[in-house]
Amino acid sequence: MEIEDPRPVPEPVLLQVPPPSTGLRPASLQQPDLPLTDPSVLSAPIMLQVERLNLFYGDKQALSDIHLKVARNSVMSFIGPSGCGKSTLLRCLNRMNDLIDDVRVQGRVLLGDTDIYAPETDVIALRKRAGMVFQKSNPFPKSIFENVAYGLRIQGQSDRNLLEEAVERSLKGAGLWDEVKDRLKDSAQGLSGGQQQRLCIARALAVRPEIILMDEPCSALDPIATARVEELILELKREFTIVIVTHNMQQAARVSDHTAFFWMGKLIETDLTEKMFTNPRQRMTEDYITGRFG
């Protein structure tokens, strides 16, 4: 059920683009081929901006012509059926797709002022600015303390006091401090699934990223643990910008300010979450949200 896109794939604009400006870019708004974007997004400062992004696995195109903006201190959720490219897009945002052979990316992704696909961009520095939480909790086989301190340690930080401070702050930020403060030296793999996931969030917080990317963070958790992580996301919003991929429509409705709906590698619609769930503009979005397909 391929939907033909009559528009030509735009040329890659990797290098010839002028230095990115912050804030509003009304020119791009007026482009008629942009997906519908809620104007209220643009009233807040933009944290992340994706322009004309195309991604290929070998010959197969996995993302086509994605335009997207994420406002600072907001939660953006990506929804869509399996294989629609939402996780692929998320992994474009911290260049985790670099690890896969055969991937080609065209277009531009701006994190703050940095074009993350520009040749002079340091991937390592970029990933420090964009923390990531994975579908399956993946703590290292180290102690709880060392897990959280990992990001700082690889940055060369060895001052014990500083590390302890950062670990406490991050664990508190992830709502895990009271549960583990007496056993920081124990192995992280002795924690429960929900605790492990929150530990992974704490680990990401420790390096003070600007944006946190979450790839279905609750799909392996029970409802209680899920509720805790969702609460946490709402709290973290005050300090960070969050992009979350989810299969769970209720979750998207509960935690996110904006929602983007993907289908077959295309961004179909993006809007304020309440608007999208009550009054979607596209027929396809409505069908997906109401469970008629997908």
């Binding site: 985790m96 970029l126 923390g131 290292f140 690889i154 192995s187 992974c200 680990r203």
Partner: protein, 532 residues
């Protein structure tokens, strides 16, 4: 018929079949270990001394073998009669039919001594500096009383010979080399300083020698008068007696005492009589030492190779070819590695090292001859494929999510490898090391070319600076088995030693493996017991 096919389909038969085969394999292994242990361990138990009357005269000894009648050959019994200095041989075959009235005389003795194997016979007298002190049973109890003291003196002499004298000799040799260098330069003042130093050392040397002479005289002061069963007399200084075993007059506890003391001597002492008697401690030590040095060399070599192959190299036909080549390296006969080690390490590398750093002592080679370093390096090369394969598997088994977690934190590839991937693969790497130890500890052929000797004068690890002497030759249990069993002048007497040394080699390999297994268990526990 239907029931039969039904049974086959359910596979119950195959469970039994595979279970039986497993049991068979286990039985074979147990049989091997049990056989070797029984053959070796029994050797130390004091067996009764049997006296028989033959047409040629009386014979006294331990019964060591029986041969049934076959065709024209009559049944024969093998006696270990000892007294090689008197009879010329240790063993005698006698026709079983002629053995009338076997007796076990209470006063028959087996005397273990430093030379010519055991004496079997009786003590008739005990003298001190030529004066008769006691005769008959009194001489025997007197000898038993004096024995611990003379043994102590002998040990003292040995330790001085090995320790102080050896040390002094090495120092004098070092001064001689320094002297040669200075002579070419013509540094008179330094030469004089060296001369005074040599004179000092010479004085110490003379003092030690005098005290040694005294001890030796002391050891020779007491003499035993011995008599064989057929009436030949023999004088033996008490100083060269190791142990007196009145086998027929001993109770079970006494025998156990002798057994344990012999076992301890075997494990903890130096060999005597071209390795057919005494202990095999240097061989045990050499084996363990060589395996340890090999482990230290093989782990970094194998792990770094595997890291590159798995993590950095672009996976293509070249890497596949390299991997096949590495795996095939494991199939190369070990003697080929020995030849390579001799040509490349000993002559090539060792020769160059001697030219560069030890030119003073040439033409005597330092590293340009076989030594524990070269032997260990050769074995490391031999076992590196095992470590590479095991490490590659371990690296591949580290969960992708772990690597991604680290990379997403902003870690570089190297930081990810060092902090996450390698720690998680250490149990797998240790599995490789365990296999490498199992293979390396049992190899003999390449060692014979690269540094193993029949008898090493000094150990590769001792109290003289720099303590670890990787250039020294060493003894090895595997080679010891071969040497004692096949190269010994008295192989019949050495047969039990072969079994015992084999058993000890097994024990050493098992102990080394247990050590590595324990290490792996601890690491796994720390890693949360997840993978592997």
């Amino acid at each position: 018929m239907r029931r039969m096919t039904e049974r086959l389909r359910q596979g119950g038969v195959f469970v039994w079949f595979s279970g039986t085969l497993l049991a068979f394999c286990l039985a074979m292994i147990l049989c091997l270990v049990g056989f070797i242990a029984a053959k070796g361990m029994g050797y130390f138990w004091p067996s009764p001394l049997v006296q028989v009357q033959t047409p040629e005269g009386p014979v006294l000894g331990e019964i060591t073998g029986q041969e049934p009648a076959r065709g024209e050959e009559t049944a024969k019994t093998q006696f270990r009669v000892g007294n090689r200095d008197i009879y010329g041989q240790d063993f005698r075959w006698l026709p079983t039919a002629s053995l009338a009235t076997p007796k076990c005389p209470k006063d028959a003795l087996l005397i273990e001594r430093l030379e010519y194997g055991p004496f079997i016979g009786r003590i008739v007298s005990l003298s001190h500096e030529g004066h008769l002190v006691a005769t008959g049973p009194a001489a025997m109890s007197g000898a038993l009383d004096r024995l611990p003291e003379t043994n102590r003196v002998r040990r003292h002499i040995q330790s001085i010979e090995k320790g102080q004298v050896g040390d002094l000799n090495r120092r004098i040799e070092r001064i001689r080399l320094a002297r040669r260098k200075l002579e070419t330069r013509g540094d008179i003042a330094a030469l004089q300083a060296l001369d005074t130093r040599t004179a000092q050392l010479q004085t110490t040397y003379d003092q030690v020698q005098t005290s040694l002479e005294q001890s030796r005289a002391e050891a020779k002061a007491w003499t035993l008068g011995l008599q064989t069963v057929d009436g030949q007399d023999k004088e033996l200084p008490l100083g060269s007696v190791v142990r007196i075993v009145p086998a027929n007059a001993m109770g079970l506890l006494d025998k156990l005492g002798v057994y344990l003391s012999r076992l301890w001597e075997f494990v903890a002492d130096d060999p005597r009589e071209s390795n057919t008697e005494g202990g095999i401690f240097p061989a045990i030590f050499g084996t363990v030492m060589m395996v340890l040095v090999m482990s230290v060399l093989v782990v970094p070599l194998g792990v770094i190779t595997a890291l590159y192959l798995r993590e950095y190299a672009r996976q293509g036909w070249l890497v596949r070819a390299v991997r096949v080549a590495v795996n095939n390296l494991a199939g190369v006969p070990s003697i080929v590695f020995g030849v390579f080690g001799l040509g490349f390490f000993v002559y090539g590398l060792g020769g160059s090292i001697d030219q560069l750093f030890f030119a003073d002592s040439l033409p005597t080679p330092t590293y340009g001859t076989g030594g524990i370093l070269w032997a260990s390096l050769t074995l490391a090369l031999l076992t590196v494929p095992v470590v590479v394969v095991a490490t590659e598997e371990a690296l591949g088994a580290v969960a992708r999510s772990q690597r991604e977690a680290s990379l997403a934190m902003g870690a570089t590839k190297w930081q990810t490898l060092w902090n996450v991937v390698i720690p998680s693969s250490t149990p797998g790497i240790l599995t490789g090391l365990i296999l490498a130890i199992a293979r390396g500890a049992g190899e003999v052929a390449p060692l014979m070319l690269t540094g193993v000797v029949k008898l090493a004068p000094s150990m590769p690890l001792d109290g003289t600076f720099p303590f670890l002497h990787l250039d020294r030759k060493f003894m090895h249990l595997g080679f010891h088995i071969y040497d004692v069993g096949f190269q010994s002048p008295n192989s019949e007497a050495a047969k039990p030693m072969v079994f015992m040394a084999s058993f000890l080699l097994l024990v050493v390999v098992v102990v080394l493996n247990l050590f590595a297994l324990n290490l792996r268990r601890k690491l796994r526990a720390r890693l949360g017991g997840s993978t592997f």
